[in-house]
C-alpha cells in the first residue's frame, strides 16, 4: 500500500482551494498505484481543518502546535522531515504556492528526495510515477521521471485537478509536534494585505485585461476606452504592473486577484499560467492576440487572431454603435 501525503495548506484560518485540488489529484493517482491518501494537517487548533478534509483522505495526521499557526518554511520542514522519515510515504504533495515554493526545495534536499515542481498532472508509466510540468512559460510540456528513492516530492500547480470529494471518512491520527524551540533565525512579523485602491476588480461583471502585447503605456488609454464602452473595468497581467503602467490592484493572476466576471476580454495577453489561474473561471472569455498559438486561445471561448491596435478601436466603435441603437 503506497501512501501519498498531501500537505494541507491553510492561511489566516482558512484552507486554500489548492488543498482540495491536491487531495483530488492524490486520490485519482492512488487508484493507479494501489495507494492511500493521508492529509497532513499542521497548525494551531487544527480541529476545524481536520473536519474540512475528513471526506477527502483515508487518513489524517494532525499536529497541533502554536508554533505552526502561521506557515513557516523551517518549522513545517522540520515537521515534515519527522513525519516522512517515520511513515515513509511513496509521494508527498505540496502546493506550488508562495508557501510551497518556500518549503519544498529545501525539504527535498534535507531528505535527499527527488523533487518535481509546479506539476499539472501525475501519471503512472510502466509502474513508475511520471510528473507532468511545463517549461518556457508554458510553451512546452515536460515529462519528469524519478530515480529510485525512498520517496518523491512534487509541488502541484493550482487549478490542475477540479476538486471532487471522495466520500471517505479519514482516520484521524493525532501526532505530537516534533518542534522543540522557536525558529529564532526566521521570525514571522506580520501579513500585509494588498492595498485596496480605488478599484476592486473582483466585483466587476466585465473586465478588460491588458497584457504585454500592448507594448506601450501610451496604448493603454485605448483599452480603457473599450472597457468604458463595455461598461467594464480595466485589469491587467503582472508585467504591466511590474512596469508601473497600472496599479497592483488591477492585477489578475496567481500573485494578484482571482476574478470570476461574466465577461473577461483578454487583450494582448498570452495566457501564461500565472495569469489564467486568476481568470479561468470567468463565464465568457474572449481573447485578442497576434499569435494564433498563444495559450490564451486554449481557455477562451472566442478569439480574434489579429493586431490589437486595430481590433480594440474597431471593437470599441461597434460596441458604442450597438449601445446607441
Amino acid at each position: 500500500m503506497k501512501e501519498i501525503f498531501v500537505l494541507i495548506e491553510h492561511r489566516q484560518g482558512k484552507i486554500r482551494d489548492v488543498t482540495f485540488e491536491m487531495l483530488t489529484g492524490a486520490n485519482k493517482l492512488a487508484t493507479s498505484i494501489d495507494g492511500n491518501v493521508t492529509a497532513v494537517v499542521c497548525g494551531s487548533d487544527v480541529g476545524g481543518y481536520v473536519e474540512k478534509v475528513a471526506g477527502w483522505a483515508h487518513k489524517i495526521i494532525a499536529i497541533d502546535d502554536s508554533k505552526l499557526k502561521d506557515f513557516n518554511a523551517d518549522a513545517y520542514q522540520q515537521v515534515l522531515v519527522s513525519l516522512i522519515q517515520a511513515h515513509k510515504p511513496y509521494l508527498t504533495l505540496i502546493a506550488q504556492s508562495g508557501f510551497g515554493s518556500d518549503l519544498a526545495p529545501s525539504l527535498a534536499v534535507e531528505l535527499d528526495y527527488p523533487l518535481a515542481t509546479d506539476c499539472y498532472d501525475l501519471q503512472v508509466d510502466g509502474g513508475a510515477l511520471v510528473a507532468l510540468r511545463q517549461m518556457y512559460g508554458g510553451k512546452v510540456n515536460a515529462r519528469v521521471f524519478f530515480n529510485d528513492s525512498p520517496g518523491i516530492i512534487c509541488t502541484v500547480r493550482a487549478a490542475s485537478f477540479p476538486p471532487e470529494e471522495s466520500n471517505l471518512t479519514a482516520e484521524v491520527i493525532k501526532t505530537d509536534s516534533p518542534l522543540t524551540e522557536e525558529m529564532a533565525y526566521r521570525q514571522f512579523v506580520e501579513y500585509v494585505e494588498a492595498a485596496v485602491g480605488d478599484v476592486d476588480i473582483t466585483q466587476a461583471d466585465i473586465l478588460v485585461g491588458v497584457g504585454r502585447g500592448i507594448k506601450d503605456k501610451d496604448n493603454i488609454p485605448m483599452v480603457q476606452e473599450l472597457a468604458d464602452a463595455l461598461g467594464g473595468v480595466l485589469a491587467c497581467s503582472r508585467p504591466i504592473v511590474d512596469a508601473g503602467w497600472l496599479a497592483k490592484d488591477r492585477q489578475v493572476g496567481s500573485s494578484g486577484r482571482t476574478v470570476k466576471p461574466k465577461l473577461y476580454l483578454a487583450i494582448g495577453i498570452s495566457g501564461a499560467f500565472q495569469h489564467t489561474a486568476g481568470m479561468k473561471a470567468a463565464e465568457t472569455i474572449i481573447a485578442v492576440n497576434k499569435d494564433g498559438n498563444a495559450p490564451i486561445f486554449g481557455i477562451a471561448d472566442y478569439g480574434i487572431v489579429g493586431d490589437l491596435m486595430k481590433v480594440v478601436p474597431a471593437l470599441k466603435e461597434k460596441i458604442k454603435a450597438l449601445k446607441a441603437s
Partner: protein
C-alpha cells in the same frame, strides 16, 4: 555587506515559436536571442542597490559555458565586483538539486552575508535552486521576496503570497533570498560598459576545482530526469472569429449582444 548573486543565461522565448530539439529534452536554440533570466536581473539590481546604500561587494556566480560570459559581463558592467563561472561538460542536464549542489560548492569557500537569486528561471521554471542552496549551506532562506530591508545582522523580507498578500519575515544573516520580479527597476548596462567589464577576470571553476565527482553532477547526479518534451495541444480551442479587424469586431459585438453582455 558581501553579497552573492546567482544569475543564469536563458533564451528569450516570449515572442518566439519554440521547437523541440533532436534530443527531445530541450528546445532548439537556433535563432533564439539570449539574455539574463528576468528574475535574476531583478536580484542583481537589488544587490547593487544594497551595495550603493550600505557598501560591500557583489559577486556573480553563473553555471554555464563560455556564452554565459556575456551575461556575466553585463552584471559586472552594472556594478558587480567579481564573477565566477562554473563550467564543466559534466554539469550538463543537472536538475535543480544538482545545480544547487554545484553552486553551493563554489559558494562555501566564500565570505558572504547575503545570497540573492531570481525566484524562478524562465527556461525550466523550477523555482528550486534558491531554497535548495540555502539548505545545503545550512542557512535560512525566504522565497518570492518583493521587498528587502537590511537591519543589524538581519534582513526583513516581504514575501509575495497569492492574492497580493505579503508575508513579512525577519531572517538572520547570512541567508538566501529568492527575488520576485517587479521588486525594483533594473538599470541599463551600456555596450561600452560591458566592453570595459571584459577586462575584469572571470574565475572559472570546473567539477574538479569544486571538489565534486561525476556522480554528484549532471544527469548522473540528478534524481529527476526530463524525458520527452512536447508542445502543448490545446484540447479546447477558442472559436476564432475571422475577417479584418472591422469584420471580426462586428461579429464579436454581435456575439456579445446575443449573450446579453452588451
Amino acid at each position: 555587506m558581501d553579497m552573492i548573486v546567482c544569475i543564469k543565461r536563458v533564451p528569450d522565448t516570449a515572442e518566439s515559436d519554440v521547437k523541440i530539439d533532436s534530443s527531445g529534452r530541450d528546445i532548439d536554440h537556433e535563432g533564439l536571442a539570449f539574455t539574463v533570466n528576468e528574475a535574476d536581473n531583478y536580484a542583481l539590481e537589488e544587490a547593487l542597490l544594497i551595495k550603493e546604500k550600505l557598501g560591500g561587494t557583489v559577486t556573480l556566480i553563473t553555471m554555464g559555458g563560455r556564452e554565459s560570459d556575456d551575461t556575466i559581463r553585463m552584471g559586472l558592467a552594472k556594478g558587480a565586483d567579481t564573477a565566477i563561472r562554473l563550467d564543466d561538460p559534466a554539469f550538463a542536464e543537472s536538475d535543480g538539486a544538482a545545480t544547487a549542489k554545484i553552486i553551493a560548492s563554489a559558494i562555501k569557500e566564500l565570505q558572504y552575508d547575503l545570497i540573492l537569486t531570481g525566484c524562478m528561471a524562465s527556461d525550466n521554471g523550477f523555482t528550486q535552486v534558491g531554497p535548495a542552496l540555502a539548505e545545503i549551506l545550512s542557512i535560512p532562506h525566504a522565497a518570492m521576496v518583493t521587498k528587502t530591508e537590511l537591519k543589524e545582522n538581519k534582513v526583513r523580507a516581504s514575501r509575495e503570497l497569492e492574492g497580493g498578500l505579503l508575508e513579512v519575515l525577519d531572517i538572520d544573516l547570512p541567508a538566501v533570498l529568492t527575488i520576485q520580479t517587479g521588486i525594483n527597476e533594473p538599470r541599463y548596462a551600456s555596450i561600452m560598459g560591458i566592453a570595459k567589464a571584459s577586462k575584469k577576470e572571470i574565475a572559472l571553476k570546473s567539477m574538479g576545482d569544486l571538489g565534486l565527482n561525476e556522480n554528484e553532477v549532471g544527469q548522473k547526479g540528478s534524481k529527476t530526469r526530463i524525458d520527452k518534451l512536447s508542445l502543448p495541444v490545446q484540447d479546447k480551442i477558442a472559436e476564432l472569429i475571422p475577417g479584418t479587424p472591422e469584420e471580426a469586431s462586428e461579429k464579436l459585438s454581435g456575439i456579445l449582444k446575443e449573450r446579453g453582455l452588451v
